[in-house]
Protein backbone atom coordinates (compact mmCIF):
# COMPACT_ATOMS: atom_id res chain seq x y z
CA UNK A 1 0.00 0.00 0.00
CA UNK A 2 2.93 2.31 0.68
CA UNK A 3 3.69 2.77 -3.03
CA UNK A 4 0.10 3.85 -3.80
CA UNK A 5 0.39 7.00 -1.72
CA UNK A 6 3.88 8.09 -2.71
CA UNK A 7 4.24 10.97 -5.18
CA UNK A 8 4.63 10.03 -8.83
CA UNK A 9 6.71 12.42 -10.91
CA UNK A 10 5.12 13.76 -14.08
CA UNK A 11 3.88 16.75 -16.04
CA UNK A 12 0.39 15.62 -17.01
CA UNK A 13 -2.72 17.82 -16.89
CA UNK A 14 -3.60 16.15 -13.62
CA UNK A 15 -0.20 17.02 -12.19
CA UNK A 16 -0.62 20.65 -13.28
CA UNK A 17 -4.09 21.16 -11.80
CA UNK A 18 -4.39 23.34 -8.73
CA UNK A 19 -4.07 21.04 -5.66
CA UNK A 20 -7.38 22.41 -4.35
CA UNK A 21 -9.11 21.46 -7.62
CA UNK A 22 -7.71 17.96 -7.25
CA UNK A 23 -8.97 17.76 -3.68
CA UNK A 24 -12.43 18.92 -4.75
CA UNK A 25 -12.45 16.51 -7.68
CA UNK A 26 -11.55 13.54 -5.52
CA UNK A 27 -14.16 14.52 -2.89
CA UNK A 28 -16.82 14.95 -5.61
CA UNK A 29 -15.99 11.63 -7.28
CA UNK A 30 -16.16 9.94 -3.90
CA UNK A 31 -19.52 11.61 -3.13
CA UNK A 32 -20.95 10.67 -6.53
CA UNK A 33 -20.49 6.97 -5.67
CA UNK A 34 -22.81 7.40 -2.71
CA UNK A 35 -25.32 9.67 -4.45
CA UNK A 36 -26.16 7.06 -7.05
CA UNK A 37 -27.90 3.72 -6.60
CA UNK A 38 -26.93 2.43 -10.01
CA UNK A 39 -24.10 0.00 -10.58
CA UNK A 40 -23.45 1.46 -14.03
CA UNK A 41 -22.66 4.91 -12.60
CA UNK A 42 -20.28 3.48 -9.98
CA UNK A 43 -18.56 1.40 -12.68
CA UNK A 44 -18.40 4.60 -14.76
CA UNK A 45 -16.62 6.35 -11.87
CA UNK A 46 -14.11 3.48 -11.63
CA UNK A 47 -13.43 3.72 -15.38
CA UNK A 48 -13.09 7.51 -15.09
CA UNK A 49 -10.57 7.01 -12.24
CA UNK A 50 -8.56 4.62 -14.38
CA UNK A 51 -8.64 7.08 -17.31
CA UNK A 52 -7.38 9.85 -15.03
CA UNK A 53 -4.65 7.56 -13.81
CA UNK A 54 -3.70 6.62 -17.38
CA UNK A 55 -3.45 10.28 -18.35
CA UNK A 56 -1.10 10.85 -15.39
CA UNK A 57 1.05 7.86 -16.36
CA UNK A 58 0.06 5.78 -13.36
CA UNK A 59 -2.33 3.18 -14.82
CA UNK A 60 -0.15 0.26 -13.74
CA UNK A 61 -0.12 1.52 -10.19
CA UNK A 62 -3.88 2.14 -10.18
CA UNK A 63 -4.59 -1.32 -11.54
CA UNK A 64 -2.43 -2.85 -8.81
CA UNK A 65 -4.27 -0.72 -6.27
CA UNK A 66 -7.64 -1.79 -7.74
CA UNK A 67 -6.68 -5.45 -7.33
CA UNK A 68 -6.01 -4.85 -3.61
CA UNK A 69 -9.33 -3.01 -3.21
CA UNK A 70 -11.21 -5.68 -5.19
CA UNK A 71 -9.92 -8.37 -2.81
CA UNK A 72 -11.23 -6.36 0.15
CA UNK A 73 -14.46 -5.60 -1.70
CA UNK A 74 -15.00 -9.32 -2.39
CA UNK A 75 -14.57 -10.09 1.29
CA UNK A 76 -17.12 -7.40 2.18
CA UNK A 77 -19.46 -8.72 -0.53
CA UNK A 78 -19.36 -12.21 0.96
CA UNK A 79 -19.98 -10.84 4.46
CA UNK A 80 -22.84 -8.59 3.33
CA UNK A 81 -24.66 -10.87 0.94
CA UNK A 82 -25.76 -13.33 3.63
CA UNK A 83 -27.18 -10.69 5.95
CA UNK A 84 -29.78 -9.15 3.62
CA UNK A 85 -32.93 -11.28 3.99
CA UNK A 86 -35.31 -9.21 1.81
CA UNK A 87 -36.12 -9.94 -1.84
CA UNK A 88 -36.47 -13.11 -3.89
CA UNK A 89 -34.22 -16.03 -3.05
CA UNK A 90 -31.81 -16.78 -5.85
CA UNK A 91 -29.58 -19.31 -4.08
CA UNK A 92 -30.31 -21.53 -1.09
CA UNK A 93 -27.55 -23.05 1.02
CA UNK A 94 -27.67 -25.42 4.01
CA UNK A 95 -28.36 -24.11 7.57
CA UNK A 96 -31.09 -21.71 6.38
CA UNK A 97 -28.52 -19.55 4.61
CA UNK A 98 -29.70 -18.02 1.37
CA UNK A 99 -28.90 -15.21 -1.03
CA UNK A 100 -31.62 -12.88 -2.28
CA UNK A 101 -31.64 -10.72 -5.40
CA UNK A 102 -31.80 -7.57 -3.24
CA UNK A 103 -28.92 -8.86 -1.11
CA UNK A 104 -26.79 -9.55 -4.17
CA UNK A 105 -27.55 -6.11 -5.67
CA UNK A 106 -26.93 -4.25 -2.40
CA UNK A 107 -23.70 -6.11 -1.64
CA UNK A 108 -22.32 -5.71 -5.15
CA UNK A 109 -23.13 -1.98 -5.10
CA UNK A 110 -21.53 -1.67 -1.68
CA UNK A 111 -18.36 -3.43 -2.87
CA UNK A 112 -18.16 -1.38 -6.08
CA UNK A 113 -18.58 1.80 -4.07
CA UNK A 114 -15.65 0.83 -1.88
CA UNK A 115 -13.41 0.45 -4.93
CA UNK A 116 -14.71 3.57 -6.71
CA UNK A 117 -14.67 5.85 -3.66
CA UNK A 118 -11.17 5.04 -2.41
CA UNK A 119 -9.42 5.38 -5.77
CA UNK A 120 -9.80 9.16 -6.37
CA UNK A 121 -8.04 10.19 -3.17
CA UNK A 122 -5.20 7.73 -3.76
CA UNK A 123 -4.78 8.99 -7.36
CA UNK A 124 -4.93 12.62 -6.23
CA UNK A 125 -2.25 11.96 -3.58
CA UNK A 126 -0.03 10.26 -6.12
CA UNK A 127 -0.03 13.32 -8.42
CA UNK A 128 0.19 16.03 -5.76
CA UNK A 129 3.09 16.84 -3.48
CA UNK A 130 2.19 16.86 0.21
CA UNK A 131 3.77 20.27 0.63
CA UNK A 132 1.45 21.65 -2.09
CA UNK A 133 -1.60 20.25 -0.31
CA UNK A 134 -0.68 21.81 3.03
CA UNK A 135 0.25 25.12 1.37
CA UNK A 136 -2.94 25.39 -0.69
CA UNK A 137 -5.15 24.50 2.28
CA UNK A 138 -3.46 27.25 4.29
CA UNK A 139 -3.48 29.84 1.49
CA UNK A 140 -6.88 29.29 -0.11
CA UNK A 141 -9.00 27.76 2.63
CA UNK A 142 -7.28 29.73 5.40
CA UNK A 143 -6.81 26.67 7.57
CA UNK A 144 -3.94 27.32 10.02
CA UNK A 145 -0.72 25.92 8.57
CA UNK A 146 -0.09 23.98 11.79
CA UNK A 147 -3.15 21.81 11.09
CA UNK A 148 -2.59 21.39 7.36
CA UNK A 149 1.01 20.39 8.03
CA UNK A 150 -0.14 17.88 10.65
CA UNK A 151 -2.64 16.41 8.17
CA UNK A 152 -0.16 16.02 5.33
CA UNK A 153 2.55 14.74 7.66
CA UNK A 154 0.16 12.06 8.93
CA UNK A 155 -0.46 10.94 5.34
CA UNK A 156 3.24 11.12 4.53
CA UNK A 157 4.05 8.90 7.51
CA UNK A 158 1.72 6.06 6.40
CA UNK A 159 4.21 4.52 3.94
CA UNK A 160 7.05 5.09 6.40
CA UNK A 161 5.19 3.19 9.13
CA UNK A 162 4.22 0.52 6.66
CA UNK A 163 7.89 0.01 5.75
CA UNK A 164 8.83 0.05 9.42
CA UNK A 165 6.25 -2.65 10.19
CA UNK A 166 7.57 -4.76 7.31
CA UNK A 167 11.11 -4.32 8.68
CA UNK A 168 10.00 -5.31 12.19
CA UNK A 169 8.17 -8.37 10.89
CA UNK A 170 11.28 -9.31 8.89
CA UNK A 171 13.51 -8.94 11.98
CA UNK A 172 11.15 -11.09 14.04
CA UNK A 173 10.96 -13.76 11.32
CA UNK A 174 14.75 -13.90 11.41
CA UNK A 175 14.44 -14.60 15.16
CA UNK A 176 12.23 -17.60 14.52
CA UNK A 177 8.78 -16.01 14.85
CA UNK A 178 6.53 -17.80 12.36
CA UNK A 179 5.27 -14.90 10.29
CA UNK A 180 5.64 -17.17 7.30
CA UNK A 181 2.81 -19.33 8.68
CA UNK A 182 -0.27 -19.77 6.49
CA UNK A 183 -2.56 -19.71 9.54
CA UNK A 184 -4.18 -16.25 9.43
CA UNK A 185 -5.20 -16.21 13.12
CA UNK A 186 -1.77 -17.32 14.29
CA UNK A 187 -0.25 -14.55 12.18
CA UNK A 188 -2.52 -11.95 13.81
CA UNK A 189 -1.62 -13.27 17.29
CA UNK A 190 2.09 -13.01 16.45
CA UNK A 191 1.67 -9.50 15.06
CA UNK A 192 0.28 -8.06 18.29
CA UNK A 193 3.59 -7.86 20.25
CA UNK A 194 5.09 -6.01 17.27
CA UNK A 195 2.86 -3.04 17.95
CA UNK A 196 5.29 -2.15 20.77
CA UNK A 197 8.39 -1.58 18.61
CA UNK A 198 6.24 0.07 15.93
CA UNK A 199 4.71 2.46 18.45
CA UNK A 200 8.09 3.27 19.96
CA UNK A 201 9.79 3.85 16.63
CA UNK A 202 6.80 5.94 15.47
CA UNK A 203 6.90 8.13 18.56
CA UNK A 204 10.67 8.54 18.15
CA UNK A 205 10.29 9.50 14.49
CA UNK A 206 7.46 11.94 15.18
CA UNK A 207 9.36 13.51 18.06
CA UNK A 208 12.44 13.84 15.85
CA UNK A 209 10.40 15.47 13.07
CA UNK A 210 8.68 17.83 15.49
CA UNK A 211 11.97 18.97 17.02
CA UNK A 212 13.52 19.35 13.58
CA UNK A 213 10.58 21.50 12.37
CA UNK A 214 10.67 23.57 15.57
CA UNK A 215 14.38 24.22 15.15
CA UNK A 216 13.70 25.54 11.65
CA UNK A 217 11.18 28.13 12.83
CA UNK A 218 7.97 26.15 12.28
CA UNK A 219 6.03 28.24 14.79
CA UNK A 220 7.03 31.50 13.11
CA UNK A 221 5.20 30.63 9.89
CA UNK A 222 2.08 32.60 8.99
CA UNK A 223 -0.44 32.28 6.15
CA UNK A 224 1.47 34.85 4.08
CA UNK A 225 4.67 32.82 4.26
CA UNK A 226 5.19 30.23 1.58
CA UNK A 227 7.24 30.30 -1.54
CA UNK A 228 4.65 29.05 -4.02
CA UNK A 229 1.36 30.59 -5.04
CA UNK A 230 -1.54 28.52 -6.32
CA UNK A 231 -3.64 30.28 -8.98
CA UNK A 232 -6.72 28.80 -10.63
CA UNK A 233 -6.55 28.55 -14.42
CA UNK A 234 -8.71 27.46 -17.31
CA UNK A 235 -7.84 23.81 -16.87
CA UNK A 236 -9.07 24.04 -13.27
CA UNK A 237 -12.36 25.48 -14.48
CA UNK A 238 -12.65 22.65 -17.02
CA UNK A 239 -11.93 20.04 -14.35
CA UNK A 240 -14.55 21.53 -12.03
CA UNK A 241 -17.17 21.56 -14.83
CA UNK A 242 -16.40 17.89 -15.51
CA UNK A 243 -16.71 17.13 -11.80
CA UNK A 244 -20.05 18.92 -11.63
CA UNK A 245 -21.23 16.88 -14.63
CA UNK A 246 -20.27 13.62 -12.89
CA UNK A 247 -22.16 14.63 -9.75
CA UNK A 248 -25.20 15.63 -11.84
CA UNK A 249 -25.06 12.29 -13.65
CA UNK A 250 -24.88 10.46 -10.33
CA UNK A 251 -27.97 12.28 -9.06
CA UNK A 252 -30.03 12.26 -12.26
CA UNK A 253 -29.36 8.85 -13.81
Amino acid sequence: MSGFLSYMNGDSILHRLNPLTKLLMSAALCASCFLTHRHSVVIGVIVFNLCMSYSAGGLKRSLAMSVSFIKLALLLFVLQVFFVREGNIILTLPLNIYITDKGALFSSLFSLRLVAATMPLAIMLSVTRMSDISNVLAQKLRIPYKYTFALTTAIRFIPIFSEEMAGIAEAQTARGVEFDTKNFFKKIRLLLPLCVPLLISSVRKIEGSAISAELRGFNLRTRECGYKTYRFGLRDAGALVLTAAIIAAAVLI
Binding site: E170, A171, Q172, R175, T181, P197
Partner: protein, 272 residues
Protein backbone atom coordinates in the same frame (compact mmCIF):
# COMPACT_ATOMS: atom_id res chain seq x y z
CA UNK B 1 27.61 -24.21 6.25
CA UNK B 2 26.56 -21.57 3.69
CA UNK B 3 26.70 -22.00 -0.06
CA UNK B 4 25.65 -19.71 -2.91
CA UNK B 5 25.44 -21.31 -6.36
CA UNK B 6 25.00 -18.80 -9.20
CA UNK B 7 22.52 -16.74 -7.20
CA UNK B 8 20.75 -13.79 -8.79
CA UNK B 9 18.08 -11.62 -7.25
CA UNK B 10 15.94 -8.91 -8.85
CA UNK B 11 13.99 -6.04 -7.30
CA UNK B 12 11.51 -5.13 -10.00
CA UNK B 13 13.57 -5.10 -13.17
CA UNK B 14 16.79 -4.16 -11.37
CA UNK B 15 19.32 -6.94 -10.79
CA UNK B 16 20.49 -6.50 -7.21
CA UNK B 17 22.56 -9.70 -6.93
CA UNK B 18 24.24 -10.91 -10.09
CA UNK B 19 25.31 -14.55 -10.40
CA UNK B 20 27.05 -14.80 -7.03
CA UNK B 21 28.75 -18.04 -5.97
CA UNK B 22 30.77 -18.72 -2.81
CA UNK B 23 30.96 -21.07 0.10
CA UNK B 24 31.55 -20.43 3.79
CA UNK B 25 32.71 -23.34 5.93
CA UNK B 26 31.98 -24.06 9.56
CA UNK B 27 34.04 -21.82 11.85
CA UNK B 28 34.92 -19.22 9.19
CA UNK B 29 34.85 -15.51 9.98
CA UNK B 30 34.05 -13.74 6.71
CA UNK B 31 33.50 -10.05 6.12
CA UNK B 32 31.16 -8.83 3.41
CA UNK B 33 32.45 -5.57 1.96
CA UNK B 34 31.25 -3.11 -0.65
CA UNK B 35 29.98 0.39 -1.21
CA UNK B 36 26.43 1.45 -0.25
CA UNK B 37 23.95 -0.14 -2.65
CA UNK B 38 26.34 -2.94 -3.63
CA UNK B 39 23.82 -5.54 -2.44
CA UNK B 40 25.35 -6.54 0.91
CA UNK B 41 22.14 -6.39 2.96
CA UNK B 42 20.20 -8.16 0.19
CA UNK B 43 22.80 -10.91 0.14
CA UNK B 44 22.48 -11.28 3.93
CA UNK B 45 18.69 -11.58 3.62
CA UNK B 46 19.18 -14.27 0.98
CA UNK B 47 21.32 -16.24 3.45
CA UNK B 48 18.48 -16.94 5.88
CA UNK B 49 15.57 -17.09 3.47
CA UNK B 50 14.10 -13.66 4.19
CA UNK B 51 14.53 -13.23 0.42
CA UNK B 52 14.38 -16.09 -2.05
CA UNK B 53 16.75 -16.16 -5.03
CA UNK B 54 15.26 -15.61 -8.49
CA UNK B 55 17.83 -17.95 -9.93
CA UNK B 56 20.54 -20.14 -8.45
CA UNK B 57 20.49 -21.82 -5.08
CA UNK B 58 21.27 -20.84 -1.50
CA UNK B 59 21.96 -23.66 0.96
CA UNK B 60 22.40 -22.90 4.64
CA UNK B 61 23.01 -25.56 7.33
CA UNK B 62 21.79 -28.15 4.83
CA UNK B 63 18.53 -26.32 4.02
CA UNK B 64 17.66 -24.94 0.61
CA UNK B 65 16.31 -21.46 1.45
CA UNK B 66 13.87 -21.56 -1.50
CA UNK B 67 11.90 -24.40 0.06
CA UNK B 68 12.61 -24.05 3.81
CA UNK B 69 10.62 -21.66 5.99
CA UNK B 70 12.62 -18.69 7.29
CA UNK B 71 11.40 -19.34 10.82
CA UNK B 72 12.78 -22.88 10.58
CA UNK B 73 16.12 -21.65 9.22
CA UNK B 74 16.25 -19.21 12.16
CA UNK B 75 16.87 -22.14 14.52
CA UNK B 76 20.40 -22.40 13.12
CA UNK B 77 21.00 -18.94 11.68
CA UNK B 78 21.11 -15.82 13.84
CA UNK B 79 20.69 -12.43 12.16
CA UNK B 80 21.62 -9.17 13.84
CA UNK B 81 20.04 -6.23 12.00
CA UNK B 82 21.65 -2.83 11.72
CA UNK B 83 18.74 -1.28 13.64
CA UNK B 84 18.27 -3.14 16.94
CA UNK B 85 14.91 -1.45 17.58
CA UNK B 86 13.25 -3.64 14.97
CA UNK B 87 14.20 -6.73 16.94
CA UNK B 88 13.21 -5.55 20.40
CA UNK B 89 9.58 -5.98 21.43
CA UNK B 90 9.51 -6.80 25.16
CA UNK B 91 9.55 -4.48 28.15
CA UNK B 92 12.48 -6.04 30.02
CA UNK B 93 15.84 -7.35 28.87
CA UNK B 94 15.12 -10.76 30.43
CA UNK B 95 11.78 -11.11 28.57
CA UNK B 96 13.48 -9.98 25.37
CA UNK B 97 16.06 -12.77 25.60
CA UNK B 98 13.35 -15.27 26.52
CA UNK B 99 11.17 -14.16 23.58
CA UNK B 100 13.57 -15.61 21.00
CA UNK B 101 14.18 -18.75 23.07
CA UNK B 102 10.46 -19.50 23.36
CA UNK B 103 10.37 -20.05 19.61
CA UNK B 104 13.19 -22.57 19.49
CA UNK B 105 13.09 -24.34 22.88
CA UNK B 106 10.46 -26.01 24.99
CA UNK B 107 12.47 -26.76 28.13
CA UNK B 108 11.82 -23.92 30.60
CA UNK B 109 14.88 -24.67 32.74
CA UNK B 110 17.10 -24.54 29.66
CA UNK B 111 15.54 -21.21 28.67
CA UNK B 112 16.22 -19.77 32.14
CA UNK B 113 19.77 -21.07 32.11
CA UNK B 114 20.56 -19.60 28.67
CA UNK B 115 18.99 -16.27 29.65
CA UNK B 116 21.17 -16.06 32.75
CA UNK B 117 24.21 -17.00 30.66
CA UNK B 118 23.51 -14.15 28.22
CA UNK B 119 22.83 -11.61 30.97
CA UNK B 120 26.18 -12.50 32.50
CA UNK B 121 28.05 -12.56 29.18
CA UNK B 122 26.87 -9.06 28.25
CA UNK B 123 26.76 -7.72 31.86
CA UNK B 124 23.12 -6.75 31.38
CA UNK B 125 20.49 -6.02 34.03
CA UNK B 126 17.55 -8.29 33.19
CA UNK B 127 15.00 -5.93 34.77
CA UNK B 128 15.84 -2.92 32.61
CA UNK B 129 13.57 -1.69 29.84
CA UNK B 130 15.46 -2.13 26.53
CA UNK B 131 13.80 0.96 25.03
CA UNK B 132 15.27 3.13 27.80
CA UNK B 133 18.81 1.99 27.03
CA UNK B 134 21.47 3.61 24.82
CA UNK B 135 21.87 2.58 21.17
CA UNK B 136 24.90 0.44 21.98
CA UNK B 137 23.15 -1.27 24.90
CA UNK B 138 20.09 -2.00 22.74
CA UNK B 139 22.42 -3.51 20.13
CA UNK B 140 23.89 -5.72 22.87
CA UNK B 141 20.40 -6.82 24.00
CA UNK B 142 19.48 -7.69 20.40
CA UNK B 143 22.71 -9.67 20.03
CA UNK B 144 22.20 -11.40 23.39
CA UNK B 145 18.69 -12.49 22.38
CA UNK B 146 20.10 -14.00 19.18
CA UNK B 147 23.08 -15.69 20.78
CA UNK B 148 20.82 -17.25 23.42
CA UNK B 149 19.44 -19.46 20.62
CA UNK B 150 23.01 -20.71 19.98
CA UNK B 151 23.02 -20.29 16.19
CA UNK B 152 25.55 -22.19 14.09
CA UNK B 153 25.82 -19.27 11.66
CA UNK B 154 25.68 -15.66 12.76
CA UNK B 155 24.97 -12.94 10.21
CA UNK B 156 25.80 -9.45 11.38
CA UNK B 157 24.62 -6.45 9.36
CA UNK B 158 26.94 -3.62 10.39
CA UNK B 159 27.07 -4.61 14.07
CA UNK B 160 29.30 -1.72 15.15
CA UNK B 161 27.50 1.17 13.44
CA UNK B 162 26.60 3.88 15.94
CA UNK B 163 28.57 2.32 18.78
CA UNK B 164 31.31 4.00 20.78
CA UNK B 165 34.77 2.43 21.03
CA UNK B 166 34.07 0.59 24.31
CA UNK B 167 30.75 -0.85 23.05
CA UNK B 168 32.40 -1.84 19.78
CA UNK B 169 35.20 -3.66 21.61
CA UNK B 170 32.67 -5.47 23.86
CA UNK B 171 30.52 -6.66 20.96
CA UNK B 172 33.41 -7.66 18.72
CA UNK B 173 35.14 -9.41 21.66
CA UNK B 174 32.07 -11.58 22.20
CA UNK B 175 31.69 -12.28 18.48
CA UNK B 176 35.36 -13.18 18.20
CA UNK B 177 35.10 -15.54 21.18
CA UNK B 178 32.05 -17.26 19.67
CA UNK B 179 33.94 -17.70 16.41
CA UNK B 180 36.84 -19.28 18.29
CA UNK B 181 34.32 -21.70 19.80
CA UNK B 182 33.12 -22.73 16.34
CA UNK B 183 30.31 -20.34 15.36
CA UNK B 184 30.50 -19.29 11.72
CA UNK B 185 30.34 -15.52 11.21
CA UNK B 186 29.35 -13.47 8.17
CA UNK B 187 29.71 -9.78 8.96
CA UNK B 188 28.81 -6.75 6.85
CA UNK B 189 30.95 -3.79 7.82
CA UNK B 190 32.24 -0.50 6.49
CA UNK B 191 34.75 -0.30 9.32
CA UNK B 192 37.95 -1.65 7.77
CA UNK B 193 39.76 -1.49 11.12
CA UNK B 194 37.21 -3.92 12.59
CA UNK B 195 37.38 -6.10 9.48
CA UNK B 196 41.18 -6.11 9.61
CA UNK B 197 41.23 -6.98 13.30
CA UNK B 198 38.66 -9.77 13.33
CA UNK B 199 37.81 -11.26 9.92
CA UNK B 200 39.99 -13.82 8.14
CA UNK B 201 38.34 -13.68 4.77
CA UNK B 202 36.64 -10.95 2.78
CA UNK B 203 33.95 -11.13 0.13
CA UNK B 204 33.80 -7.93 -1.89
CA UNK B 205 30.60 -6.97 -3.68
CA UNK B 206 30.34 -4.29 -6.32
CA UNK B 207 27.17 -3.59 -8.26
CA UNK B 208 25.70 -6.89 -7.10
CA UNK B 209 28.68 -8.93 -8.37
CA UNK B 210 31.22 -10.72 -6.22
CA UNK B 211 34.46 -9.07 -7.36
CA UNK B 212 36.77 -10.69 -4.81
CA UNK B 213 36.83 -13.55 -2.34
CA UNK B 214 40.20 -13.76 -0.61
CA UNK B 215 41.94 -13.47 2.77
CA UNK B 216 41.48 -10.03 4.35
CA UNK B 217 45.25 -9.43 4.33
CA UNK B 218 45.33 -9.78 0.57
CA UNK B 219 42.22 -7.67 -0.04
CA UNK B 220 43.53 -4.86 2.18
CA UNK B 221 46.58 -4.52 -0.03
CA UNK B 222 44.86 -4.81 -3.39
CA UNK B 223 44.32 -1.21 -4.41
CA UNK B 224 42.34 -2.20 -7.52
CA UNK B 225 39.77 -4.26 -5.61
CA UNK B 226 39.50 -1.69 -2.84
CA UNK B 227 38.95 1.02 -5.41
CA UNK B 228 36.31 -0.98 -7.28
CA UNK B 229 34.29 -1.27 -4.07
CA UNK B 230 34.98 2.32 -2.90
CA UNK B 231 36.87 1.05 0.14
CA UNK B 232 39.84 2.43 1.99
CA UNK B 233 42.26 0.00 3.65
CA UNK B 234 42.78 0.04 7.42
CA UNK B 235 45.43 2.55 8.54
CA UNK B 236 48.32 0.13 9.19
CA UNK B 237 48.03 -1.72 5.84
CA UNK B 238 47.66 1.67 4.12
CA UNK B 239 50.81 2.96 5.80
CA UNK B 240 52.62 -0.29 4.99
CA UNK B 241 51.67 0.02 1.30
CA UNK B 242 53.02 3.58 1.18
CA UNK B 243 56.30 2.50 2.81
CA UNK B 244 57.14 0.08 0.01
CA UNK B 245 58.28 -3.52 -0.39
CA UNK B 246 60.04 -3.83 2.98
CA UNK B 247 56.62 -3.53 4.64
CA UNK B 248 54.63 -5.76 2.32
CA UNK B 249 53.95 -8.33 5.07
CA UNK B 250 52.90 -5.74 7.64
CA UNK B 251 49.25 -5.87 8.64
CA UNK B 252 48.94 -5.12 12.36
CA UNK B 253 50.48 -2.63 14.80
CA UNK B 254 52.70 -5.41 16.17
CA UNK B 255 53.87 -6.34 12.64
CA UNK B 256 54.66 -2.67 12.00
CA UNK B 257 56.64 -2.25 15.25
CA UNK B 258 58.66 -5.39 14.53
CA UNK B 259 59.36 -4.37 10.94
CA UNK B 260 60.37 -0.80 11.90
CA UNK B 261 62.74 -2.21 14.51
CA UNK B 262 64.18 -4.62 11.98
CA UNK B 263 64.68 -1.90 9.34
CA UNK B 264 66.29 0.44 11.90
CA UNK B 265 68.62 -2.33 13.08
CA UNK B 266 69.64 -3.02 9.48
CA UNK B 267 70.36 0.70 8.92
CA UNK B 268 72.50 0.85 12.09
CA UNK B 269 74.48 -2.16 10.92
CA UNK B 270 74.93 -0.85 7.43
CA UNK B 271 78.36 0.75 6.69
CA UNK B 272 78.30 4.53 6.36
Amino acid sequence: MLRFDGVSFYRGSEKIINDVSFEIDRGDFAALLGENGAGKSTLCRLCNGLLKPDSGRVTVCGNDTSSAKTSAIARNVGFLFQNPDRQLCQNTVRKEILFGLEHVLSDRAEMESRTEEMLEMFSLDGKRDPFGMSRGERQQVALASILACKPQLLILDEPTTGLDYRECVTIMGIISRLNAEGTTILMVSHDMEVVGDFAERALVLSGGRLVADAPVRRIMKDAQILDSASLLPAQIPALAMSLGDNFSDVFTVDDMAAQVESVCAKKERAPL
